[in-house]
């Protein structure tokens, strides 16, 4: 009979309590961050969160629902351009642009998910890859130029902190993004842990069986695509606001690939994985460029392949396995006896 992890105690706390403690610490640090580091670093971490949101979006559709997308850069672009156009043409305040961009991306994702519903495996990957390559072309398209700004793109203004708060724009945007990130991650957690999440995973693992159990597979698939596009689209909108500029070249094929890499390295089917992914996307190219000019592409490629061979569950999976090992080694039952082989179930599911 194995001990269930909840009844095991490691250095005075149960694993769940440890998890809560770690998350709380990270949140506290996150809130204090702008006061601890330079403006530039704050800006960087803002981008980390934006990429994390984008990766989370991809994770929802690929990791949890098993539909491969190599084209999420397209939804990122949709979100970004929606926000940019709204701010530039109609002077809509940035905080309203974000949810609208999300809705536009949601619709686009839903439409695509519905049309491509019968595809699976690398056919779906192929169709999304086509999206990723074709979207920059649409953005450059002349007749649309008065909306999209054509090849030059659209420059934007950085918003100031509201209500006269004593924050500079970088700091304000950081908190704005932080707030949205937390909300989105909590929503995703609830979604994936609940019935919807289980249905999605059922579709991922055994689509035909899921159908026989009454799950409306095409609807779920389309909805999942929509929600995932919404997340990535919101990421795109925030990106436009923070970078203050959108142009077709910012959304080249590689954006889709980078988001994909972030998901693989961070950990698929893992919400925390999106955060590791965001960190990876932002910081690794910087570090890589100091090593060799061939970065970031080559480094990304090599790391991705290495992860595929060696660490298939990404950093998040690695963290989970490491955590389980720690529990096994130092876990102690509440009545003081060492736990014998505390079993930790490694389900591929939300954590």
């Amino acid at each position: 009979m194995a001990n269930r992890p909840e009844t095991v105690v490691v250095f005075g706390l149960t694993p769940d309590a440890w998890k809560r403690a770690m998350v709380s610490t990270v949140l506290v640090v996150a809130v204090l961050l702008p006061f601890l580091v330079s403006d530039f670093r704050t800006f960087q971490f803002t981008l980390v969160m934006i990429w994390a949101i984008a990766v989370l979006g991809l994770n929802i559709v690929t990791g949890f629902s098993g539909q491969f997308s190599l084209g999420h850069g397209a939804f990122f672009a949709v979100g970004a351009y929606t926000a940019a156009i709204m701010m530039d043409h109609w002077e809509v305040p940035y905080y309203l642009c974000v949810p609208v961009a999300g809705l536009v991306a949601l619709t686009a994702g839903f439409a695509f998910g519905f049309a491509a519903g019968r595809l699976a495996g690398h056919y779906l990957a192929l169709a999304t890859f086509a999206l990723a390559v074709a979207v920059p072309q649409i953005l450059k398209y002349d007749p649309l130029e008065e909306w999209t700004g054509g090849v030059q793109g659209i420059p934007l203004l950085k918003p100031d902190a509201p209500f006269g708060l004593p924050l500079n724009p970088d700091e304000w945007l950081y908190y704005f993004v932080l707030f949205i990130t937390v909300v989105l991650f909590v929503c995703a957690g609830n979604l994936l842990r609940g019935r919807t999440g289980r249905a999605m995973m059922a579709i991922r693992d055994q689509p035909i069986a899921a159908k026989t159990m009454g799950v409306n597979v095409s609807l779920y698939k389309a909805l999942t695509f929509g929600v995932s596009a919404m997340y990535t689209g919101i990421g795109g909108a925030l990106y436009a606001i923070v970078i203050q500029f959108v142009s077709p070249d910012s959304f080249f094929l590689f954006v889709s690939i980078f988001i994909f890499v972030g998901m693989v390295v961070g950990g698929m089917a893992s919400i925390y994985g999106a955060i590791y992914g965001g960190l990876f996307i932002l910081f690794v190219p910087n570090i890589a460029e100091e090593i060799t000019k061939a970065a970031p592409g080559a480094i990304f490629g090599v790391i991705m392949i290495a992860f595929a061979y060696l660490v298939p569950f990404g950093v998040a999976g690695f963290a989970r396995i490491a955590g389980a090992r720690i529990v096994r080694k130092w876990g102690v039952a509440p009545n003081g006896r060492a736990s014998l082989g505390a079993e930790s179930k490694q389900t591929l599911g939300g954590e």
């Binding site: 019968r118 192929l126 649409i138 890499v261 592409g297 080559a298 990304f300 595929a308």
Partner: protein, 294 residues
Amino acid sequence: MDLFIQQVVGGLATGGIYASLALALVMIHRATELINFAQGEMAMFSTYIAWTMINAGMPYWFAFFLTVAISFVGGVVLERVVIRPVEHRPILTIIIVFIGLLLIFNAVAGWIWTYTLKSFESPFPDRPLEIFPGTTVRMHDVGAIGVTLVLLLLLYLFFRFTPLGLAMRAAALNPGSARLVGIRVGSMLALGWGLAAAIGAVAGMMVAPIVFLDPSMMFGILLYGFASALLGGINSPVGAVIGGFMVGVMENMAGTYVPFIGNELKLTLALFVIIVVVIFRPAGLFGKTVVSRV
């Protein structure tokens, strides 16, 4: 009428290139059920190798064949070293590996040869060719069509009439049975990759004079290759070829005669073709619908 013929010939020329790329994709798909997302980058890399040799003074056709040989070996090595270990892993893992390869080839090419555009010479003279009185087409277009046709003919002869070709077909059709007659299926797979890489190299070298050489040269072309392979039927070599020529001509026709597509939305056309085929007739024009048992 002149414009029409020019566009058709031009379309056939690029179509031949798409057909070659589509053929490489189909070959790998038939043998492994996988779509090689890195095919374009491999072809691009081969083309850069050719460029280096030609720039160093090597005569064109010598460099051409040497590049094809190097690409063949490269493809074999790639299969053995990178693909073989993950052959039986889930699809996602394999897609990850392909994308990784795509990134690596792209980045390394940019690093070695920089991102500035380079011109790649055509082996065919730059004069226009008069095929009908009063109608001229580009020599390179005609030459490219010729090279493509020779390539396709050689492949056809190889697969149809040589024992090795037959063995490769058998290994792709039914690897279990192929083993039972003593065919080393793993080696056949490696050979298939080698051939695909070699074909890709030819496609790259034929298209470079048209679009200029740069690391992202093949993205759009790969997309057309996909569209062609899907249109023809992802498991049908004949389909890939016909699909390629069709897509090439359609692309040129649409670009010239349909006003809102112009030069700019051509890739979107490819995307459109892919989506339509994949939704309405996933087996393509010449493929057989695959029924998978539950």
